[in-house]
């Protein structure tokens, strides 16, 4: 699997935020997106995910089989956590709609350090705990492409280490990732794309 864009321009409405991007992210490697506020990092991720139309150019996932169902995980700024559902129910629901993999929801919760909170209402989790729950979603339904928008927001130091470990595992098993962040995420060997500050 390989992510390739050709002459991609993306933006909101008619405002072009990034033009003529020719990216190449191979399996096993990652790309860090950086840039100031409003530079268009979130917009680019949404475009790569297919949730926004590119203004021009296109996004290709070489080697992906569209028949086999979706192969992209996108994590936006929002956590998709409903306060009244318990943590484990939330994760099971995500596995239901995204497809089940080898990792059971309970295992995934343990992995992200929420094992003890499984039966709690998700609304009781703090901001960082909710973010960890979102990381568990990536584990229960294995997909080769991860597009993460500021995954480290609200995470504490241990959480950031966890994130780095999960990303490393993902890359090692042949996945690819594009991560937009303002923080330092330990991703050895990742390329960096800095979206321009606009005058």
């Amino acid at each position: 699997m390989q992510l390739k864009t050709q002459g991609l321009a993306c933006g909101r409405g008619d405002a072009v935020l990034a033009a003529d991007l020719s990216l190449k992210v191979a399996a096993g490697s990652a790309l860090l997106l950086r840039g100031p506020n409003g530079a268009g990092k979130s917009t680019l991720l949404l475009t790569l995910a297919g949730l926004l139309h590119p203004i021009s150019g296109n996004v290709v996932f070489e080697g992906a089989d569209p028949e086999a169902g979706p192969f992209i995980h996108h994590c936006g700024h929002k956590n998709a956590v409903r306060p009244r559902l318990s943590v484990i129910q939330t994760l099971k629901f995500w596995a239901d709609i995204n497809g089940h993999g080898d990792v059971t929801p309970a295992t995934a919760l343990d992995r992200v350090g929420l094992g003890r909170t499984a039966r709690l209402d998700a609304g009781y989790l703090s901001a960082g705990q909710q973010r960890r729950l979102v990381l568990a979603r990536l584990l229960v339904s294995p997909r080769p492409v991860w597009l993460l928008d500021e995954p480290s927001a609200a995470l504490d130091a241990a959480g950031r280490d966890l994130l780095a470990a999960l990303l490393a595992d993902h890359l090692r098993s042949g996945g690819l990732a594009v991560v937009a962040t303002h923080d330092d995420i330990a991703l050895p060997g990742a390329a960096t794309l800095t979206l321009g500050a606009r005058a």
């Binding site: 995910a49 949730l51 926004l52 139309h53 169902g69 979706p70 992209i72 995980h73 996108h74 936006g76 700024h77 929002k78 956590n79 998709a80 956590v81 409903r82 009244r84 559902l85 129910q89 099971k92 629901f93 995500w94 239901d96 709609i97 995204n98 497809g99 089940h100 339904s141």
Partner: protein, 221 residues
């Protein structure tokens, strides 16, 4: 299929969980019906003659006003974006939600309707025809409603917009629904009204998931 059931299960769970959305809706239905006598006077004959209409209006309003919870919370918390990347079609998601909406917003009303029938001095046979017509007609309201909710989900605060968009489109449901109960044109008219009602429900149930899915996808770009 696991996705379809997952969505259905989650929506049912959320409706019946602590929040008590279902209870709220039923209470709204009863209150709308119950304030009518205060506003038009307690004349029993008058009340009985308009009772089927009032029950239908109350159900109509309750179902339309319950719409906002169909897609908006999912959009606000980011779940809608997840659906778009899920291993199931958006139409499937909508279909599951329509079913959940009917189970949590229509069925409880129908179960509560005897109470309203009592305070509105309705007689037995009319009441049973009312229940039948509600059973046949509310699926159409749920289906149209899902479409309205989908249209307005891209708007930050929907509020009453979905009800006012959908109410005019639902007028036929109301007309045939009441027509099936209180046939001024005799029993023939009543049974043809029932048929129309069933046809409306089937048609809208079959089409609305697709129209709603289109509206959602396009609204979110």
């Amino acid at each position: 299929m696991s996705g379809f059931l997952g969505v259905l299960r989650r929506d049912l769970r959320l409706s019946f969980s602590g929040g008590g959305e279902v209870l709220t809706l039923v209470l709204f239905f009863i209150i709308v019906g119950a304030i009518v006598p205060f506003a038009i006077g307690p004349d029993r004959a008058l009340l009985a003659s308009i009772a089927p209409g009032i029950i239908w209006i109350a159900a109509f309003l309750a179902m339309l006003l319950g719409l906002d919870r169909l897609f908006r919370p999912d959009r606000d918390d980011g779940t809608l974006a997840l659906y778009r990347m899920a291993d199931m079609s958006m139409a499937g998601v909508v279909a599951a939600k329509v079913i959940a909406h009917w189970l949590t917003a229509a069925l409880p009303l129908i179960l509560a309707s005897p109470f309203l029938a009592m305070i509105l001095a309705m007689d037995g046979p009319t009441f049973w025809r009312t229940v039948l017509s509600l059973l046949l007609g509310t699926p159409a309201l749920a289906a149209f409603g899902a479409f309205g909710a989908a249209i307005t989900v891209a708007i930050r605060r929907g509020g009453l917009l979905a009800p006012i968009l959908i109410a005019p489109l639902c007028v036929p449901v109301l007309i045939f629904g009441v027509g099936a109960i209180a046939p001024l044109g005799g029993p023939d008219q009543a049974s043809s009204a029932m048929l129309f009602l069933a046809a409306l429900s089937l048609m809208s149930l079959a089409l609305s998931p697709f129209a709603a899915a289109l509206a959602i996808d396009w609204g979110e770009e």
